[in-house]
Point group: none
Chain length 206, copies 4
DNA sequence: TCTTAAACGAGACGGTACGTCTGGTCTTGAA
DNA sequence: TTCAAGACCAGACGTACCGTCTCGTTTAAGA
């Protein structure tokens, strides 16, 4: 129960950044152990050795905590991060392959398997969460993916008529479904199979 | 508050099937209005004009009610239904197109948009629900799809190396993601885009 | 679970008197084992091997069943029984002594220890029960006791000014309190102590 | 529905003592209006304008609430209170008279009439309640009464052979029976009649 | 012998209360 | 101003009884 931040403990009027980490760590542990519904804010606070108000001071709801706990930040508003994330080098095929690998790896972590469907569910009723998750995080990726596909299409690297939104739905949706519902144990082969269908689906028919 | 089944109301030691319908109807309404988390069993009972114990007598958890409320039964244990459901006629391309249309239509209903991610989340911790939803319902479809793809591959109608499980993950996952997260308003064009990518992904490259 | 009345079992349009006995027996057992609050009608029906409607056909409430189960009938409307019950022979001292012995013996049975306070509680809100228990059973005893004391007072056998109602409250109340609350293990000595105080309390000084 | 304690309302980590009072007041009201069985914890919480958990934080069962609501505390562990309560001055006759008056007054309050038999009933199955009510509260009185009678007997002020326990059973039992079952409307004359019999029962026969 | 009608067990029903658990807010007192 | 601790309301959870009612069967008594 004794945490290292309990020794130097209170910083006065500044927030203690160690608390953020302790909370996110505890959240990941609990997601893995008890699942999304079983991860209560009470349990997070107890596991992190932190009071509940310290949590509510930082995040407005459980979904926001979970979102921060399982997804990399990348909402830095600059294109640089997204570019790096999406793999800016190589052919469009390489880029898509990298994207699929990235998506599968993202949703394959145990905590994420437990959390992703829960967040999908809450995003429908919690508009504050929707703003953060769908608008700020997902929309950026959509725009960037659209830009890339557009460019590739102009170069003739992909078929015309490929819907970028549907493509993103496939990559994210299939990865989440495989990891969280089918509970695929080895993500590698699945990522290959997924990339195989997706690439054949968008590249020109020779 | 008076329901039509209240007039003749009690059938003695047999359960009143009108209550099943009233509960499932109320569940669909509440899912649409309040979302998955906001749909409490109390609210369902009140809306259906039914006591809470009558619900617990029929379903062991909220997830089971929701499952019955939004998914067609088709667990008839005979292949016949699944065959019909999956579209047994025409070329493999026609069959896949029908499958994609069916999946999108299934997840496009407002109640289902609200419920599907919630069920995906609970299926991970509720093993009783997993039995019903993943093993009994999904597994049948997986087996049948696998059989069809195998046959088509032998006829050379699709590429070899296409993973049937990944294909099902794509169809279900993409449809759920598009409907529940992206909240696509018109399912028709999305289904076409999805079918376009999927078909090109599995058919031979000319 | 097989009762002897289950062999020949149903008598047609007449009630099966064996059910009355089975229910009252089960009630006494459950009172002793689980106490008054823990004795549910469900449990009585199950223990007696009887359906709930068969019970409700005979008694309007749990309190009525318990009343029948623990108290001797004596509501025969004829003074004869009460006379016998109250001990009509001997001096007034002998009669009072017999009364005290009877009261203590009545409330000393294990089932009665558990039930008496519960009935006292329900009699305040259940007016139907009040009618049966207080008016029909107790009032008769009050009247008869009053008559005896009046006669004894005229003969100079007891002090004047002794309140018959208070005397009955003492005998019943003290016996119930000793048995149900103090949980006296041996009723004999207690009955003697009680009789000692009561007799000295009403007989003339010297 | 707005209570005075709602203005300043929450005291932080300390419990709000105003809630204790509000709950006990509501309990007394409900006992008077609906009787013991009709006084649900739900109803108490609603009437007191308080959440149910706030009640369960303070008392382990309905019986404990009722006990606190109707009986004065006097479990101060020092003899002083009990001495005062039992009336330490005057002859033994005066003391007994005071005791009888006190007992009758205690059980004459409307809420107490409704509650006392219910508590007597629950004390038999709820051992936690028995500890509080019988051991901590009643036993102290029994010991003190025994001491007084012993002293009086040595002085020759009462007959030898008077059982202190039976005497207490008489005073408490008769008062409860008269108030809760017979429902005596005017406690004064009853207390006089009871004291008359009791005093004659224990004083020497001149 | 056949019919009628009541009693029976089994158990579903709406309703109410139980005691527990969360979520999100607020307050205290120390640092 | 932050922190931990924790009290607070609101309300959902799943369970247990209550008293009523209906079912389908059994059985005694009357036709």
């Amino acid at each position: 129960m004794s945490k290292d931040f309990e020794t130097q403990h209170r910083l006065g009027p500044q927030r203690n950044p160690a608390i953020d980490d302790a909370v996110l760590d505890a959240t990941r542990q609990l997601l893995e152990e008890k699942g999304y519904a079983g991860t209560s804010i009470d349990a997070i606070a107890t596991r992190a050795g932190v009071g509940r108000p310290a949590i509510y001071r930082r995040w407005p709801s459980k979904a926001h905590i979970v979102n921060d706990a399982i997804y990399p930040v990348l909402d830095v508003e600059q294109g640089a991060d997204i570019d790096t994330e999406l793999g800016t080098e190589g052919t469009i095929a390489d880029q898509i392959r990298a994207l699929v690998q990235g998506a599968v790896a993202l949703f394959a972590a145990p905590a994420t398997r437990a959390a992703a469907p829960g967040l999908m569910s809450e995003v429908r009723t919690n508009s504050e969460l929707r703003e953060v998750l769908v608008v700020r995080q997902l929309a950026g990726v959509r725009v960037e993916l659209n830009r890339r596909l557009e460019a590739a299409r102009e170069r003739g690297d992909i078929r015309s008529g490929v819907d970028a939104d549907a493509l993103l739905d496939i990559m994210a949706g299939a990865a989440i479904f495989a990891m969280s519902v089918r509970d695929v144990s080895d993500p590698g082969p699945f990522a290959d199979s997924l990339a195989d269908i997706v690439l054949n689906g968008i590249l020109p028919n020779t």
